[in-house]
Subunit: 345 residues, 4 copies
């Protein structure tokens, strides 16, 4: 059994980790920290876990995280980098669901996250936790930066095209739509039901923190300079993410060959589903599961390929992907504890 | 492995059965019938099942249901009673998710469902599939009438009080609220998103088919005549049911004793959670799981006890309960394949 | 033109007042106060008002409220009673949308609102602003306590029955359901989209502040002692309120006579619609309008009458009713500026 | 008073016309036809109109539409072209909310709508009813083809850029998102609450009927060949439309000048609001009103301008725009009956 600790279990990625780990057959949950909720039974805060998670939140001091095999950080940016060095020194592996270990360029991190990075050396060692592109390095990693939700969809939606060199990497558009849970469990006016329901809007059009991470990773897939326009929008639904990606073809390639690029790339992937050419994936077809689905379109048989990608932002876009990484890091079957059938309707 | 057939797999109770059975470790899914969709891969209609359910729908003629160990009917009222006799004769057990085998009084059935009952003898043999009240008989049943969603909440919410004889059975009120999926997957104007969203209404206030079934079952728990007012409402949410039940106390009993009635009644029940006195259960705390949660209130310490009951109408209120019955009928651990942690948020 | 000031225009009742007053033909909006937003153009906070409301928020010091003819308080409890005496002394009428002037019994106020009342004399003078029951006194009032949203539905749903003396006043149940905007525009975790959406729950079952106000007013309609059980619930919709009210008949009365009680009581009321006996009013049939609709049921022709009442909680349940009172206080046609057709779908 | 008839009043554009016309001070509603609902009081089908619309639906034979001054067609494609010639001959003006008179190229109509056009001559005479671009011709038109909802946003979002010749007209992308009411009031499985709620998807990516109309109109604004990629998506909200439009700049132009293009173009428009550069308009800021709001972005100060456009699809995107056209055709103030303040929250 893998001994697991969670730092920051009160947010949505934290409770989603708990949902997944509560039925993971190889995991023993050791402690979940929350300074504010120290002593509160977790199931008091989340009645969905009554009878399933018996632990109470503990203060970091009493959590004995150094006795764990792995610690997940489901915390605001900046927390993991403060605690990771001591845990690693104690032989504990670290998976950060925030951004502390996603970017490898310290300057870029500090520009977008407005804070100094306290352990740039670890930043170099850390592995970007997208199994479909980095499986081998994740397996041997001590520290994983779990990808952002949007970047997961954009990378998996573009990777086969970039690797094949058939699109103009300098002219990419990702028009992305996310459910509200992506904003986390924070008391913000804009995320109130009465504000976000029956409403739709873009946000961060002039700049969003998921952009640099995506560009940094996409750049590894091509020798060309990557130019990406990324427009996030807020959808009145709890879970779900839909990315509509536009890329210009630079070579003559027919639709069958385009489709084959994706089917070949993902044919052995347990959590990436390439749907038939021209399909319209729905976010709910991935709800509460670790699946990500992709479909290709080529409007008017023109030179633009449109890639549609859906996932559950809290699972493949966050906590599920983190568990997938954990499975790899500990030599388990990658799908262990992650084979939930999507909840529909 | 239990060989399972499903008649009518295209509706919401059908697809929910598929979700549950796809990961049930003791089940082999043999065939799912739909005359209209004969030959269509199930996962084409329900992409959430891509990679998880490989069968195509088959016409009833080709389904070989007589080779199954058990057949679920997720069909409109009237279908199961037409096909059950032949299946039973072939040694196949039957679980009907519709109303054909819920009522034991033929006349009552015919009055409320406006059709003759074709096998009144089987009606007598059939068992009402509420495990918490009828576990022993379900275990040995050949044919089970799976309870309605509303009746499940009302019976489990009132059973400890009726059995203890502390309330006026002739003066019960159940003010119930259901998510829209309870109306099924039928193309009806009133269930369109643009009609049902951002809206709330009562329906069937003057009479609803779940009333006679509930009264018939409640009457088994008391010698007094049962008088029940049942008011269903439609809530703009997909899944979830909340019943607010009002009962007048006829005896002096303090809150601790009231609470003890429920805790004792359900202390060994894996799917009934008695929350602390005065709690407010939320429907989402049961979402996509087989849990039902109950909390008691006594406003102003008066003589009315208010029982709050929540469940997922498609799981404990329908398909999950049917699987729970199947587990009992085949001697499996009752919780097999049903230990999903509720999806929250 | 009536010169109008608003204290506390940043919440939902405030912005709804602005929506209604912006097109009211007899109103000149003078100032809207918010200490926190002093100087911010109102339309910057509420882009729905761009081009329609040109004022900026002003601090209370600069608002010159004493030059207004009437001031609305769309503030937390306790604010209106602090400022009302000076305004009244300056000849300004006051309409409070909070609870400061709803209850006439100071002790009851202090028990439920956990604060001393600073002007009990004004409490005696103030008029409860429910025009259908108190039209005459509202017309001559200097100070009006605008009713709570729930109490409006319960009183209008029960008044004809209580006045006729045909029900048991000691045994009333109001099972009420409200959209989320009733909780106001406050950054609370429980009101986040990801918490309140796709979910249903009761709250305050053991005691809610709208109870004493309702009982106090209902008691004026009958000589009997009023006993009311009031259970509020939260519905995942922005606006709308549905009350399901249960009353036991104490006299033989047929449905035609029951219906006539309501039709007679409200035949001249512009904002109360008595629907046909047995109808199921939907909240959306009142959305964004000042209408309240009522329908009667008598399940199984028994001795319980079920009254269904719907309204928009922010209009007839709050800001619209306040404008209706203003119209009366200033001798205008009662419907002035309030004839919006409900928005459907 | 303008005598108005409506053909096909049972759908969402029909009932929205009724909402708007019920309070229009210069309109007398003469008849609303529905063969299926002949004799049914309109308010029985739409209780939101109780007390506000007293007419019953009438069969076309009894509607005496030839006595009207103007007839709106809120019908499926193909109905208006069958009835328009006789009405025009009788001196009645016609406004079609469907597509019969939007496209001026008969061949294009027949290709996309799969039916022959029965009056190609009228097609030539008809005017495309987008007042901001065609005000003069609408004023003198006998027959108006009311624009589609998506095309309204795309045209008003691109017109200032195309007219100024600063973008590459051959490389336009419109990523559009619509509320569910855009699909109309038809009993379709895909539009059920349980299907469309808590879900997001694209549809018609490979070709949507609003594309040819948009291209035809955009082509009038530029000498260059228009190339448009149009991707519609379905948002789980009743009303509202958000278009995210991407255009490549072909000239050096700073953001101030870009913004000025829009502010100049729309400075006298009562229903087009140009928000500050970099704003994020929300659909709800236009809910139930005839307003359309636009904001510009220029990510990373690159050569792509992103135009965000929001409207209520049933008002400015349909019925409100039709009333705006009627006002122009009859010499009324353009804003008459259309000055509703958006409903927020």
């Amino acid at each position: 059994m893998i001994k697991v600790g969670i730092v920051g279990g009160t947010g949505y990625t934290g409770v989603e980790l708990l949902r997944l780990l509560a039925t993971h057959p190889q995991v023993q949950l050791m402690s979940v920290t929350s300074r504010k909720e120290d002593g509160t039974p977790i199931a008091d805060m989340y009645p969905s876990l009554r009878g399933r998670v018996k632990l109470a939140f503990s203060s970091p001091e009493n959590a004995h995280l150094e006795d764990c095999d792995v610690v997940f950080f489901a915390t605001p940016h900046g927390v993991a980098m403060a605690q990771a060095p001591a845990l690693l020194a104690a032989g504990v592996k670290v998976i950060d669901l925030a951004a502390d270990f996603r970017l490898q360029d310290t300057a870029v991190f500090e520009k977008w996250y407005k804070m100094p990075h306290s352990c740039p050396d670890l930043l170099k060692e850390s592995v970007y936790g997208l199994p479909e592109l980095n499986r081998a390095t994740i397996k041997s990693a001590r520290i994983v930066g779990n990808p952002g939700c949007y970047p997961t969809t954009i990378q998996l939606g573009l990777a086969p095209l970039l690797k094949a060199g058939v699109i103009d990497a300098s002219n990419l558009i990702a028009d992305c739509k996310s459910g509200v849970s992506g904003a986390g469990r924070k008391a913000e006016i804009a995320m109130l039901f009465s504000e976000a329901s029956d409403n739709f809007k873009a946000y961060g059009v002039s700049g969003h923190r998921h952009l640099p991470e995506t560009v940094e990773q996409l750049s590894k897939l091509t020798d060309d300079k990557v130019g990406l326009l990324f427009t996030p929008h807020l959808v009145p639904m709890i879970r779900g993410m839909h990315s509509t990606i536009y890329a210009r073809l630079t070579q003559t390639i027919d639709n069958t060959a385009l489709q084959a690029l994706f089917e070949d790339a993902y044919k052995d992937e347990p959590f990436v589903d390439v749907m038939p050419f021209g399909a319209h994936p729905e976010t709910r077809s991935t709800r509460a599961s670790n699946m990500l689905r992709i479909a290709l379109h080529r409007p008017n048989d023109g030179d633009t390929v449109v890639v549609l990608v859906v996932q559950d932002n809290l699972v493949k876009g966050s906590s599920g992907q983190a568990v997938q990484c954990m499975n790899l890091m500990f030599g388990l079957e990658e799908t262990t504890g992650l084979m939930h059938v999507p909840v529909m309707p």
